[in-house]
């Protein structure tokens, strides 16, 4: 038990399969989370991320696999174990917040402690403490229906953490808030999670949310894991075109690996655009010479200049300039391909201008299609 509690495999999901009728919602996925870390399951709707979360919560059974948390087996199809949700010691924040409308804020937050038969005066202390943590002290005696969406969201968080559970689960908790509040809550939520130190799993389809909050991100697609890694890795070294496209914005061009120069480095030939171009680049895992590839370049990694100096082999025409305040979003037509480029406002680009694009080999990535 002790070993499991402190290992890197505090949460361990193995071979999880969940079917809905004949549809495979989650297709044999495995992952683990170290204690105290914040993991995000990221993907479009229908990718199986919420199903995975519900399986961990025990809100439905699974069709194969094992789920263990802190050395306790929650669900094991092979051993025939299914711990009901109330025995799992989990705190969960739902998308709808699920604040009970017939109770006050304080009663909502005190509920998990009452169920655990904590002494009344200790409940008082702990509820007050957790309400202070989410800055809702003065709302304590209000009916739950008379507070705003953002406040309900914090009540839900307070209720989830008040019993200091083994694990915190978040099901798209910020998706019902407006943009400004959402951005504030990202930071606040992450800080609170860090303070209480409870291992957390967070489900979202918002890549910005995932990048800001997570220690680790799992990108899911069609019931499978596409990539698991730190936010930086996922952004800078996506393993394939799907991840690259889902996280942030990228120029994705079809191409072919010409040669491997060193491990992880090579040369790629673009098969799209005005003229065939060969570029030095980083190679994704298992990329070999002659292989089809997708070349991924982030818009901020493309340099624009008016003179065709060394390396400026991509010559295009500016077709659109969108001013975004701190930068300029340009579209540059290059034969059949249109580049997305983030340029500095002082570059003073105009529509119709001829420009040259330069790609940094360290930020040009050839991955599996």
């Amino acid at each position: 038990m002790q070993i499991a509690e402190h290992s890197d495999r505090y949460v361990e999901v193995q071979g999880l399969v969940k079917l809905f009728g004949n549809d495979i919602a989650v297709n044999e996925i495995s992952f683990s989370i170290p204690r105290g870390k914040f993991l995000t399951l990221l993907g479009p709707s229908g990718c199986g991320k919420t199903t995975t979360l519900m399986s961990i919560a025990g809100l439905h059974g699974i069709d194969a696999g094992t789920i263990r948390v802190g050395g306790v087996t929650y669900t094991s199809k092979a051993e025939g174990i299914f711990l009901p949700p109330e025995k799992r010691d989990i705190g969960m924040v739902f998308q709808s917040y699920a604040i009970w409308p017939h109770m006050t804020v304080m009663e909502n937050v005190a509920y998990p402690l009452e169920i655990r038969k904590v002494a009344p005066d200790e409940i008082q202390v702990r509820v007050a403490e957790v309400l202070r943590l989410v800055s809702l002290t003065e709302m304590a005696s209000k009916p739950a229906t008379q507070i705003s969406g953002g406040q309900q969201q914090r009540v839900a968080l307070a209720r989830a953490i008040v019993s200091r559970p083994r694990l915190l689960l978040f099901d798209e908790p910020l998706s019902n808030l407006d943009l400004k509040l959402r951005e504030q809550m990202r930071v606040k939520l992450k800080r609170i999670q860090h303070e209480v130190g409870i291992t957390s799993i967070y489900v979202t389809h918002d890549q910005a949310e995932a990048l800001v909050m997570s220690d680790e991100i799992i990108v899911m697609n069609k019931g499978r894991i596409e990539q698991k890694g730190s936010p930086h890795d996922i952004y800078a070294r996506p393993v394939n075109a799907y991840v690259s496209n889902f996280i942030g914005v990228a120029n994705l061009l079809t191409g072919r690996v010409v040669q491997v120069i060193a491990p992880g480095r090579g040369e790629v030939e673009l098969m799209e655009g005005a003229t065939p171009v060969r570029l030095p680049c980083l190679l994704g895992e298992q990329m070999k010479a002659g292989q089809q590839a997708v070349v991924s370049v982030r818009p901020e990694s493309v340099q624009v200049s008016r003179d065709g100096g060394a390396g400026g082999r991509i010559e295009g025409e500016v077709v659109q300039v969108i001013f975004l305040g701190n930068c300029v979003d340009c579209r540059v037509r290059w034969g059949s391909f249109e580049w997305k480029v983030l340029a500095h406002p002082r570059a003073g680009l105009h529509k119709g201008e001829k420009v040259y694009l330069r790609l940094d080999p360290e930020r040009t990535l050839a991955v599996q299609p």
Partner: protein
């Protein structure tokens, strides 16, 4: 991975521990309730089918298997006529109730008729009162000889003979049509109110006039609601016992229900033939309800988006006073006039068609209500106490059942959820008198026969779906995540039910309870089959007075029942609001 490997993993689980994981509070409760509901609903219908093939011999003791009962449906002296009369009455009532219901709903939902908000509750009152009492009232108003209207017509207008006569199948159509018009009203007013006004506005902007828009957009969108209401009226009229028993059967127009009744009780009782007639009636009603549930009800949801809309209102100009007059007239004829007439009749020692103020007395109320008096009529006083016991116990048990069943259908969704969903519709497909025949033949040889228990069983089986719908409607509006978060907070299934689910459903549960209380308090067609001396109900008491005492005593008990029902309606409106009734 392939599905094959999944299935091998699944079957690897040791059997004993899989069994253990199945035994939870939830699954045990589900199993028990499923068995109870399935038994209560299916057993009577099953026995009914079997009994319908048992033929009573000439001696009236032994039975043989055969189709003679079914043959009798066509060859009997009375049954074929009763069949035709039932269809005529149902068709006529449906037309009348639909005309009344749709026009009143449109006036209330879509016109600037004055005081329409105030009128609405009065339009719905017939829904809560007893049609049997309505028939008694109309007999006293418009019977050829003693009917008040005819007496006045002779006295003041010089009419010879009579002006109108309700002692025939037209009278039955008149009374059932009026009493069941709220069923259509409720179906239609909901879709008229919740229809997105943009649907009509876009037709108007496309160049269609008001009339054209009403005919091409509004009416087709409301059509499923109208059709649903019409079918429910048809089925309810076909199963109505009290009205034809009072108005048409004594004058030679028997119906299937009055015939079933005479085969279930009385000297020439033949339960098996009664069962066969019940089968015939039940086959018709079940078919219509199946069509309504399967094809029409799902379509009526397409006009309802759930958003709160402010529906378009038609300015009737001066015609709004005509609409107002029409609505007021309906309320006067459907509610005020019959109650007023009964009140008059009840105050006379003997009713002879004349108001005699000097002779007025409360004697009839004393005889029917004062159970402690030696000269009180036991069938009436027993009926009152029994009905309150049955209504209170029945509504309570049915709502507990409704709660668990709704929870299983909408929350657990485990095994049995679909079966339960189906079982909750089945009783709606069968008139009370049919289900009561099933209950009678099933339990006649058990100790619960001739007790209140068998009536309670009949009531709950037939009417718990009404309560279940009330609970389900609220449950669907409440997110399942509210329950789930309680489970995750560490509460067991039962604790969650007690502390989260039930408190949230309280308004729905209470509204359903009052509705069932009202239904049970006026119930006749189940009680009339299952009662025996000592287990009379309120409506059976009225029946007894109709049969063995005079009109004045009957009127007194009828007024007593009506007053109690009206009080319940006021309570119901307080707790439920006006949307709670929309079926």
């Amino acid at each position: 991975m392939s599905v094959q490997t999944i299935s091998t993993v699944v079957t690897d689980a040791p059997l004993s521990s899989r069994w253990r994981s199945l035994v939870t509070q939830e699954s045990v409760a589900t199993l028990i309730v499923s068995v109870i509901v399935a038994g209560a609903v299916l057993l009577p219908l099953f026995t009914l089918i079997i009994s319908s093939f048992q033929v009573l011999d000439a001696g009236g003791f032994d039975t043989t298997w055969g189709l003679d009962n079914y043959r009798a449906l066509f060859t009997d002296r009375i049954i074929p006529k009763a069949f035709v009369n039932t269809l005529l009455i149902s068709a006529g009532s449906t037309v009348l109730a639909t005309l009344l219901g749709v026009s009143l709903a449109w006036i209330n939902a879509r016109t600037n008729c004055p005081w329409r908000d105030r009128l609405e509750p009065y339009n719905l009152i017939p829904f809560f009162l007893s049609p049997f009492v309505g028939a008694i009232a109309w007999h006293n108003l418009a019977a050829p000889n003693i009917g008040l209207i005819n007496v006045w017509a002779r006295d003041y207008l010089g009419v010879s003979g009579h002006l109108i006569n309700v002692d025939n199948i037209y009278g039955v159509i008149w009374v059932t049509g009026i009493f069941f018009s709220p069923l259509v009203y409720l179906f239609v007013v909901g879709s008229l109110r919740r229809m997105d006004p943009a649907l009509e506005d876009s037709s108007r902007t496309a160049g269609a006039g008001l009339l054209r828009t009403t005919l091409t957009v509004t009416l087709p969108l409301v059509a499923p609601g109208i059709l649903s209401g019409a079918i429910i009226v048809f089925v309810t009229s076909a199963g109505e016992f009290g009205v034809p028993f009072k108005l048409s059967a004594p004058y030679g127009w028997e119906t299937l229900t009055t015939q079933i009744f005479s085969k279930a009780v009385g000297d020439d009782a033949n339960h098996y033939l009664g069962a066969t007639m019940s089968m015939a009636l039940g086959a018709i009603t079940a078919f219509f309800i199946y069509v309504q549930q399967r094809y029409i009800a799902p379509r009526s949801f397409t006009t309802v988006t759930g958003k709160g809309f402010r529906p378009n209102v038609v300015d009737l100009g001066r015609w709004k006073w005509v609409a107002f007059g029409y609505n007021i007239t309906f309320v006067l004829i459907a509610v005020a006039l019959p109650i007023f007439c009964l009140l008059l009749v009840s105050l006379h020692p003997v009713w002879q068609g004349r108001i005699i103020p000097s002779a007025m007395t409360f004697h009839n109320y004393e005889k029917t209500l004062f159970f402690w008096r030696a000269d009180s009529i036991k069938a009436a006083t027993n009926g009152i106490s029994n009905s309150f016991i049955l209504a209170f116990a029945g509504a309570t048990i049915a709502m507990v059942l409704s709660l668990v069943v709704s929870h299983m259908i909408h929350r657990s969704k485990g095994f049995g959820a679909r079966l339960l969903d189906f079982l909750c519709v089945v009783p709606i497909g069968f008139p009370g008198i049919v289900l009561a025949m099933g209950v009678l033949v099933t339990y006649i040889k058990t100790p619960i026969y001739a007790t209140l228990w068998i009536i309670l069983l009949g009531y709950i089986t037939r009417f718990f779906p009404y309560g279940q719908r009330n609970v389900s409607a609220v449950m669907l509006a409440i997110s399942a995540e509210l329950d789930q978060s309680s489970r995750l907070a560490g509460a067991s299934w039962f604790t969650t039910l007690r502390r989260i689910t039930i408190p949230l459903l309280k308004p729905g549960i209470f509204a359903g309870w009052v509705l069932l209380f009202i239904i049970f308090l006026r119930e006749l067609s189940i009680s009339i089959i299952l009662y025996t001396s000592g287990t009379e109900t309120l409506s059976v008491g009225v029946y007894y007075l109709v049969n063995f005492e005079n009109e004045a005593l009957t009127a007194a008990l009828s007024i007593a029942q009506t007053v109690v029902l009206l009080l319940c309606v006021i309570i119901f409106r307080r707790v439920a609001g006006r949307e709670a009734l929309t079926a």
